[in-house]
Every structure is written in structure tokens, then in C-alpha cells.
Symmetry: C2
Subunit: 225 residues, 2 copies
DNA sequence: CCGCCCTACCTTGCATGCAATCGCCGAGGA
DNA sequence: TCCTCGGCGATTGCATGCAAGGTAGGGCGG
């Protein structure tokens, strides 16, 4: 059975979700009392949650000045993608070696659904892609059977999610990205770890270009100095 | 000027240092009141410190059952070294491209001092190697100019430090390891990033074999099942 | 008119108190 | 003898109170 979560854990999950969903603008002030009454708890668990979110890098915590939603510079964002480009191909290769038929079916389902939902046209729903994409990459990380690798990834993956959703993609890059998912599953089904690694490398580098371009553009319109 | 640290930060640094120095056995209970009076503060900052240490993976925090010093299985330890084998060569390559003459002199000094102190014989002081080694790798990570990469490394590097110091090395492996440091500096001085990357790869894989062997041996003597 | 300082409010940081939960130990029954 | 159940001590989790530090706004001096 699932043990009852503590208030601090609920606060942590709620806050993380709120930030990851982008409901609060980057740099927004996070007052302890405001969050406390909003979550229906006292300031103590909120403080604990903020502290842990700071450790995760999702909020910036300045002594005596409170917490703000973290912001990332273009350079930091690029660094994150370089790191992903280093780690995720390894994840894909390991997952390719470890995946069973059931896992492959699940991944294939996710990949196909993403391609359906994301295809440019009337039925497109870019926001619905976010959780599916997250599920796909998380599933892969779990399959890799490498907790340290998964932890390192999880600790760094947040920024791109916050900064931009899939709205940043142009049609060509988006189609490439969605096709990559399908191709990764195909490579895994073929048991070809190197194929999977290569496609994942392309996948991340494609995303890097899109995201960095988008971040640079938004930084430009925010303060063109 | 350096701003006065809060009590929670002092508690965090102190506890982390105590754990990293191995002054508490793995799995040791960490009572809030005990730590509080030992640090001369109340339980609140201690709780905050423990929470953040749990996020760093240095302590395991079970709801309603308190905190214990984290333990790592042989598999987890091996995973950490695989991750380091993925990340640190990249760090070395980046650092090789970015290092200036002053940086190289500092690194060379560290490497040479480590070789002097660590050389088998009467003057050997294995415990003194730990902070020097840490300084060397930290300096490299800083030189790489890649905050995300450094953060990912820092978040994962702890276990090997806690599990074993340099006492686990046999003479041959230790000499190799110390020679690697010197060779990395030489490669950087030559501006050869790929050389640095290769030596660092060897360095980590050498360490991996030593540490995993030591961990397996201690696990064997602890509970040979 | 502009800049500086002082004051008052607000926020954070820490201490402490109280309730709930967990683990342990002993007694009772099968 | 072993298992189970109930009470007790200890510990965590959370709420609240108080003091220190910071920020903003207004008044005063240049």
C-alpha cells in the first residue's frame, strides 16, 4: 500500500509540478506565507519543500530574501543539452539491451501517440506532448537499469521543460523529433544498441538547436541589450 | 565580503563534512536532537540540513523513522564509476582547452604533491591524498567551464569518497592513479584535449576496478551470503 | 530638484511546544 | 515454545511565536 505522504512531501510535489508546468513565471517571488496558506499547511513544510527545490535547482534561494523561481541563461540551457547529449545516448543504448517485448510495446505506444498528437494540422495538441515525452524518456531511463545515471539526468533535465514547451519547435524539427522516438523504439526492437544511441544523439542535438534558438529569441525580446 | 552563513547552512556543511570524512559509519542513525545539541542549534536547521543531504543522496530519510547515513551497494558504486567514466573525460577535454598557464601550474603542483605523498614507503600518507585528489578533480571541473556538467558530477561523486579512501588501492594501482594525474596535466599543457580525455578515462576505470573490488571484499566480510 | 537617511512594515530564520506515529518490550493465549 | 497484542518510551512532523535582517517609502538636508 502507498504510505500517506507527509505535508512536506505534498508541498514539494505540488510546488515542483506548478513550476514545471510553467504556471509561475520565471523569477516569480515565492513567499512562504503565501504558499503556506495556498497549500493549507504551515510555513515549516513549505520551507522544507523550498529548500529541497533549491537543491534540485528549480528555485533560487537567497538568505533573508526568500525564494524565486529559478531562471536559466542561454549558456546554462546549452550546457544542459550538452550534458543530455552525453548521458541520454548511453541511456538509450543500455535500454536497448535491457528492454523486453512488453517494454517495447509501451514505448512504441507512447511514440506513436506522440506522433499522432504532434503532427501539424487540426488535431495538434502541443501541450499534451509534454507529459508523453517525459514518460518516454523516464521509461527509457528506468529501463537502462542504472540508478546513478537516471539520477544525474533527473537532476538536470528540468530547465528545458520550464523554459519552453513544444511550442518552440518549427514543423520540420518537431517532425524530426517525433520520428526519432519511433526510430529509437525500432532500434531497440532490433536489439541494436548503437543504432539507438545514434538516434538519441541526433534527437538531443536537434532539441538543443531548437531550444537554444528559442531561448535566445525570448531573451532578445525581453531585453535586447 | 563573505555573508554570514545561516545556522542551517553551517549544519549542512558540518554534517556533509562529517559524513564525507567517514567519521560516522554507513547506516548510522542520525537523531535530530542529538545532532542539534552537538551543533548547538535547534532541531529546525538540522531538519533542513538533513533534508538537503537526503536530496544529495548522502543520507537516507525514511518518514517517521529518521535519517541514516546512506549506504551503497556494489552495483550502485559500480554505476557511479560508469557515470564518472562518462562525464570526467569530457571534463578533462574541456579543461584542457580552457586552462591557462597559472591553472596548469596549480594542477601540476597538486599532481606532484600527490605523487610525493602517495609514493609507497615511509613518508606515505594515504589520508592526506583525499583532499588533494578532491582539489584536483574539483579544479578540473571548474576549469571545464560547464556548470551543468560540474553539478551533475558533484551530485554523484560522493559515494566513492565515503566508501573507501585510498587505503583500498594496491601499490601498482595507486602508482598508476597518481601517474595519471601528472599525465593529465602534461596532456593539458600540450593542449591535447583528446590525450587528456583518454588518460582520464583510464584513470576512472582504474579507480573503478579498485573500488568495486574493495567494496565487494568488505561486503563479503560483512555478510557472506 | 535630487539624493540620503531614517523609520516602519514585512519577510525570513530559528526556537520551542504539542500531537501523531513508530518501534520495543512484556504479558497473555494457542 | 512461539506467536500476537497492548502499552510505553522515544522520535519525528508540524504549528506557532519571537527576534533579526531587509526593503520600501517618506521626510530632511544639500
Amino acid at each position: 500500500m502507498t504510505r500517506p505522504l507527509t505535508s512536506a512531501e505534498r508541498a514539494l510535489d505540488t510546488l515542483r509540478d506548478v513550476i514545471l508546468r510553467g504556471e509561475l513565471p520565471a523569477g516569480a517571488r515565492l513567499g512562504e506565507v503565501e504558499l503556506a496558506e495556498r497549500l493549507g499547511v504551515s510555513r515549516t513544510p513549505v520551507r522544507e519543500a523550498l529548500s529541497r527545490l533549491a537543491a534540485e535547482g528549480l528555485v533560487q534561494l537567497v538568505p533573508n530574501r526568500g525564494a524565486r523561481v529559478a531562471t536559466w541563461s542561454v549558456d546554462e540551457l546549452e550546457g544542459v543539452f550538452e550534458l543530455r547529449a552525453l548521458l541520454e545516448p548511453q541511456v538509450a543504448a543500455l535500454a536497448a539491451a535491457a528492454a523486453g517485448p512488453g517494454d517495447l510495446d509501451e514505448l512504441a505506444d507512447l511514440a506513436v501517440r506522440m506522433e499522432t498528437i504532434g503532427r501539424p494540422g487540426p488535431g495538434q495538441d502541443l501541450d499534451a506532448l509534454v507529459p508523453l515525452n517525459r514518460a518516454f524518456h523516464d521509461r527509457l531511463a528506468a529501463l537502462a537499469g542504472h540508478p546513478a545515471l537516471a539520477a544525474a539526468l533527473a537532476g538536470v533535465i528540468h530547465p528545458p521543460i520550464v523554459v519552453r514547451n513544444f511550442h518552440a519547435y518549427d514543423d520540420a524539427s518537431l517532425c524530426r523529433s517525433l520520428a526519432h522516438h519511433v526510430e529509437i523504439v525500432a532500434a531497440m526492437r532490433a536489439g541494436d544498441a548503437e543504432w539507438a544511441r545514434a538516434v538519441m544523439t541526433a534527437h538531443i542535438r536537434n532539441a538543443r538547436v531548437v531550444m537554444v534558438r528559442a531561448a535566445a529569441a525570448s531573451a532578445m525580446e525581453a531585453g535586447p541589450d
